[in-house]
C-alpha cells in the first residue's frame, strides 16, 4: 500500500477495506481507477491508478511532421482541444523564431477563450450531474451546442478543430462567425444567471461542496497544482498573466481567485472565469485588427490557396510542406498556455530533421490528480465524488 510522503499517516486501529472505484464508473470523469481505503464510509487513503487511456501520442508525434502532429494534439485534452493546439504551435514557432501575424493571434485567443467557456460548461454540467442535479447538465450542454455550432461554422468540425497552422491560421473566419460569437456573448450573462439560480446558492449544492476537498495554498503550491485548483486556494497564478502569450498582454481580464480552497471555491473560480472569458471574447470581437492570417515564409507556413493555382513556386512550397514538412533548426523550446485545467505546456525538441525528436506534453491534470489523496482523506465516499469532480481533470491529458 503506497502512502504519500507529505505526512506520516496514522493507521486506524482496525483494518480498512479496499474499495475499487474502477475504470468504468459514472463519476470518475474518464477511465480512472481509484482505490480507496475505507474505514466504514470514511476514506482513509486514496490511490489513483492511471494509464487506462494511454495512447502513445508523444511517440506518435515523433513519426509525424510538425504540421501533422497538430491534429494529434487535439485529442489530448479533449474538452478544450484548442489550448492543446495553441501550446504546441507556440512551441514550434519558438523553435523557428517566428510569431503569427496580429489578426491570427487575436483570432487564436478568441477561439481559445470560446473553448475555455465550453470546457467550463462541461465542468459545471458534469459536476452537477455527479451530485444528481441533472438539469444543470442539460442547460450547460445547450450552451455548449451553440459553441460547437460556431466551431463547425469556423472549421467544419465540432470539437477537434485543429484550426491553427504553424505561422497563423489555415483560413480567415467565415462570414457570420464573428456575429455568431457576438450574439452568443450577448445572450450568455442571462444563461449564466440561470445556472446561478439553479446551483450557486442552492443549499444542497453548497452542503455537498463547501468544506469538501479543502487544500491550503501551501499544500497546493507544494503539490504544484495549477489553474483554477490553485487559484481557488488563493494563489493568483495564471499563465495568461504570468507569462503572457499571443495577445493576452493587451487584453483586460481579471485573474479570479478564491480563498476557501474547497470544492465550492473551485466551482466558483470556474463559474466566474466564464464571465471573464466572455469579457475577453467581447473585447476581441470589438478590437479585431485586419491583416493577413498567416506569415509569408514559404518554408514554414503554407502559401495562400489562390497562389497555389497560379504560381509554380507556391505549388512547390506547398508540396514540400505537405510531404516533408517544415524543418526547424535544432533546438528545444517550451511553450505554456493557460488551459481550463491549468498550465498546459509543450516542450518540443528538434534535431534538424523534418520529424521532431521529442514532443512532451505537460498536462496540468497529471499534477492536479496527484494531490487527490490530500483532498479526500477523512471524507466520506460521496464527498470523494464531489472532490474528484471539483478537480476537473481529463484522463486524456493525464495518460496521453
Amino acid at each position: 500500500m503506497t502512502v504519500l510522503r507529505d505526512s506520516e499517516p496514522t493507521l486506524p486501529p482496525h483494518e480498512t477495506m479496499l474499495l475499487n472505484m474502477g475504470p468504468q464508473h459514472p463519476s470518475t470523469h474518464g477511465v480512472l481507477r481509484l482505490m480507496l481505503d475505507l474505514d466504514g464510509e470514511v476514506v482513509v487513503d486514496a490511490h489513483p491508478d492511471i494509464g487506462f487511456l494511454h495512447t502513445g501520442i508523444e511517440k506518435s508525434c515523433e513519426y509525424r511532421t510538425y504540421h501533422q502532429a497538430i491534429t494529434l494534439t487535439d485529442r489530448i485534452d479533449y474538452l478544450s482541444p484548442y489550448s492543446n493546439n495553441l501550446a504546441y504551435v507556440n512551441a514550434v514557432e519558438k523553435l523557428f523564431g517566428i510569431s503569427a501575424p496580429p489578426r491570427a493571434s487575436w483570432l487564436r485567443v478568441l477561439i481559445a477563450e470560446l473553448h475555455r467557456i465550453a470546457s467550463h460548461l462541461v465542468f459545471v454540467g458534469t459536476t452537477s450531474l455527479d451530485l444528481a442535479a441533472s438539469s444543470v447538465f442539460i442547460y450547460c450542454f445547450r450552451e455548449r451546442e451553440e459553441l460547437l455550432r460556431l466551431m463547425e461554422l469556423l472549421s467544419g468540425v465540432r470539437m477537434m478543430t485543429s484550426f491553427i497552422r504553424i505561422g497563423g491560421l489555415p483560413a480567415d473566419v467565415p462570414p457570420g462567425f464573428l456575429e455568431g460569437v457576438a450574439t452568443f456573448i450577448d445572450r450568455f450573462p442571462a444563461r449564466l444567471a440561470e445556472y446561478d439560480d439553479l446551483i450557486r446558492e442552492n443549499p444542497i449544492f453548497k452542503q455537498r461542496m463547501v468544506g469538501i476537498g479543502k487544500i491550503s495554498a501551501h499544500d497546493a503550491t507544494r503539490w504544484s497544482l495549477t489553474g483554477p485548483n490553485l487559484r481557488a486556494s488563493g494563489v493568483a497564478y495564471d499563465v495568461r498573466r504570468a507569462l503572457p502569450y499571443e495577445v493576452y498582454g493587451e487584453l483586460e481580464f481579471d485573474v479570479i481567485t478564491e480563498t476557501a480552497g474547497d470544492a465550492y471555491a473551485r466551482y466558483l473560480v470556474r463559474r466566474r472565469e466564464l464571465e471573464e472569458s466572455a469579457k475577453i471574447c467581447r473585447q476581441i470581437v470589438a478590437r479585431l485588427p485586419s491583416g493577413p492570417i498567416r506569415i509569408d515564409d514559404p518554408h514554414i507556413a503554407y502559401p495562400k490557396r489562390e497562389l497555389i493555382h497560379s504560381s509554380m513556386e507556391s505549388l512547390i512550397h506547398h508540396y514540400k510542406l505537405a510531404t516533408e514538412g517544415p524543418i526547424p533548426p535544432p533546438g528545444e523550446a517550451y511553450a505554456a498556455v493557460e488551459s481550463p485545467r491549468g498550465e498546459y505546456g509543450v516542450h518540443v525538441v528538434s534535431n534538424g530533421t523534418n520529424l521532431p525528436q521529442r514532443v512532451r506534453f505537460r498536462a496540468p491534470s497529471f499534477a492536479n490528480l496527484q494531490a487527490l489523496p490530500l483532498l479526500v482523506r477523512g471524507h466520506m465516499v460521496a464527498d470523494c465524488i464531489a472532490a474528484l469532480a471539483s478537480i476537473d481533470f481529463v484522463l486524456g491529458e493525464i495518460d496521453r
Partner: protein
Amino acid sequence: MGVEGRVSSAQPRDRAGGDQRVALGRDRATSGFAARSESTSPERVSSAQPRDRAGGDQRVALVEQPGGIGTHQSQGVVFSTIERAANWARSNSLWPLSFGLACCAIEMMSMSAARFDVSRFGSEIFRVSPRQADLMIVAGRVSQKMAPVLRQLYDQMPEPKWVIAMGACASCGGVYNNYALVQGVDKIVPVDVYLAGCPPRPEALIFALQQLQDMVKRGLRRTISIQ
C-alpha cells in the same frame, strides 16, 4: 464531415415499418399477442418474409379492415410472435452502458443532452452497471491496460447484448496505429455497428443506434459499418 446514410449491410432498411406486416384480427376472444404463423384465409398474404432467428417462417396475414389498419375502427389487437414482440420491445429500449472513454464520450454526452436527445429513441438512461445494460457503446480509444476491463464488462452484460464501436479509435485504432492502443475493439468483443468519425457527430451516433434498432427489431445479427 456529415454522415450520409451509406449503410453497407445486406438488408434493406426498415424505415416506416414497411416490412413488418402484422395481422389485425377480429377475434375478440383473444387478446394480447397470439401466435398466428400460418394464416388460412387472408385477404392479402405477404410474401418473401425474412426468416427469424429460430428459422421459422414469419409469414403473417394482412387482413384488411374497414377504415384501414390502426384506425379507431380496428379492435386494437395485434397478433405476432413472442419473438417479434420481444425484439420490438428490445429495440425500442436499448439501454447503453456508460462506457465513455475519451473524446467520443463527450459527443455521446452531447447525444444524451437536450439537442440530440437520445431518450426519445428509448435509450433514456445510461446504465452504469453492466448487469443492467444491453448495449455497450465503446466511445473512445481502448488502451492496452483498458482491454481486459472492456472484456470483463462485456462478459458481465447479460444476453442479448450488442456493441457499437463508436469512432475511429474503437473501430480500427483510429489515428493511433501504435503500441498503446488495441487496434479496433473488435479484437476483444464482437461488434455489431462500426461508426466512423473522430468524433462522430451525435446525429451519426443516433443513426448508428437506429440501424442497430432495426437489426434488433428484425431479430437479425449483421455487422453494419457506417461511414
